[in-house]
Symmetry: C2
Subunit: 224 residues, 2 copies
């Protein structure tokens, strides 16, 4: 494995040679197409996944049948929250869906446990990833409770836009992402359109006035 994947994760570059060897030998690279269910509630996670390419969205299957979007894992990050359940042999209430074709490193429970035991650097990597996700969850809760919908939508649009300023998502999809109803998204987008910030077409939103959106987000002091 020349040009090892390990170096794409900043937290792992400091690993000593023997640990690197064990990590490389005890893990493998896996792929999945867009839209695949990466992990699901009720099924024990047997691997820690480190994303090399693509994005995975993690959402909670609600009892009420609706989904709550929790967070998005990008290339270079890990689905680390599953590991708690992995090591604790507990079930997970969330599911992960690949949004694009993804490539990831799968570290099986055995290797993971062994490395956590042996390597302080690896431990720090894991716990750092944890604390990131956890503080993310805290700010998510904060946003849900205190932030206005228009601000949250504006922030999310800026985040999801591709390099041409286009967001590929239906109103319903944006609704689940923000934990609100489709109608609310529709109304808010009409308002944004009225202000000349967006143009709409079926299944996509064109950001024509990013400055306006950014100003709205900033004025509310949102956590982008």
């Amino acid at each position: 494995m020349p040009d090892t994947w390990i170096d794409t994760f900043p937290g792992l570059t400091r690993l000593p040679a023997d640990i690197r060897a064990e990590l490389e030998a005890g893990s493998q690279i896996v792929t999945a197409p867009a839209g695949a269910q990466i992990f699901a509630p009720g099924q024990t996670a047997d691997n820690l996944l480190l994303l090399l390419d693509g994005t995975v969205k993690v959402q909670q299957k609600s009892d009420t049948g609706r989904d709550v979007f929790l967070y998005r894992v990008h290339a270079g990050e890990s689905c680390v929250l599953t590991t708690a359940c992995m090591l604790a042999f507990e079930d997970y209430a969330a599911e992960g869906i690949s949004e694009t074709d993804v490539r990831a490193v799968a570290i099986p429970r055995k290797t993971f446990d062994s490395l956590v035991g042996k390597s302080p650097v690896f431990r720090e990597f894991v716990f750092t990833a944890y604390s990131r996700r956890i503080t993310d969850l805290f700010t998510l809760i904060d946003d849900i409770v205190f932030q206005r919908m228009d601000v949250r939508l504006a922030a999310r649009l800026l985040e999801l836009a591709d390099d041409r300023g286009v967001v590929h998502a239906t109103h319903a999809a944006l609704g689940t992402e923000l934990g609100t109803a489709r109608e609310v998204i529709s109304r808010t987008l009409s308002e944004f359109h009225r202000r000349g910030w967006v143009e709409q077409s079926r299944g996509e939103v064109h950001l024509t006035g990013k400055e306006g959106l950014a100003r709205l987000v900033k004025s509310a002091g949102a956590h982008v």
Copy 2:
């Protein structure tokens, strides 16, 4: 230390003798009065706390100046989320306030790190505690997004009531717990009163019809 505290934590009873010894030697019992700030944002946590007596409430200091209640740590549980930040040398955005006089075991970072490295049982204990808290956070988010306020308030009242069915809390306090406004609590409690479920007096709520509250909670399929 006869009758060691270790056995009050089910996950730790399986620890081998040498690890127990290290844990006992490398930790100490601390106390704090009711209302003390146990940990705060911006100050690195240097100890993992395992609660022996009392309760600690953990809440996020919001940018907007208001607080969001996250969860409550009871005797026999640990403030484990702080450990991620502890090991990762990262700051924490939440603060912990003792609600009663508390007694706890403080495990310093050094001991903690060493034990996580040496003992698979201790690792499992830590990661189990993690996964509990994390899934709790997930259900919290779910509740905030989808559950009606009256149901959430009813559930919380049942949870907070002492053995005589009295909840000692002001409307404002219940408001922060549920991430809503005092006025909403007042209105909802009036409604509960109208239905004969509660009696009110300054600073406390008497549950006179727990069955009604329980029925409301149950009919909504809430996560108690």
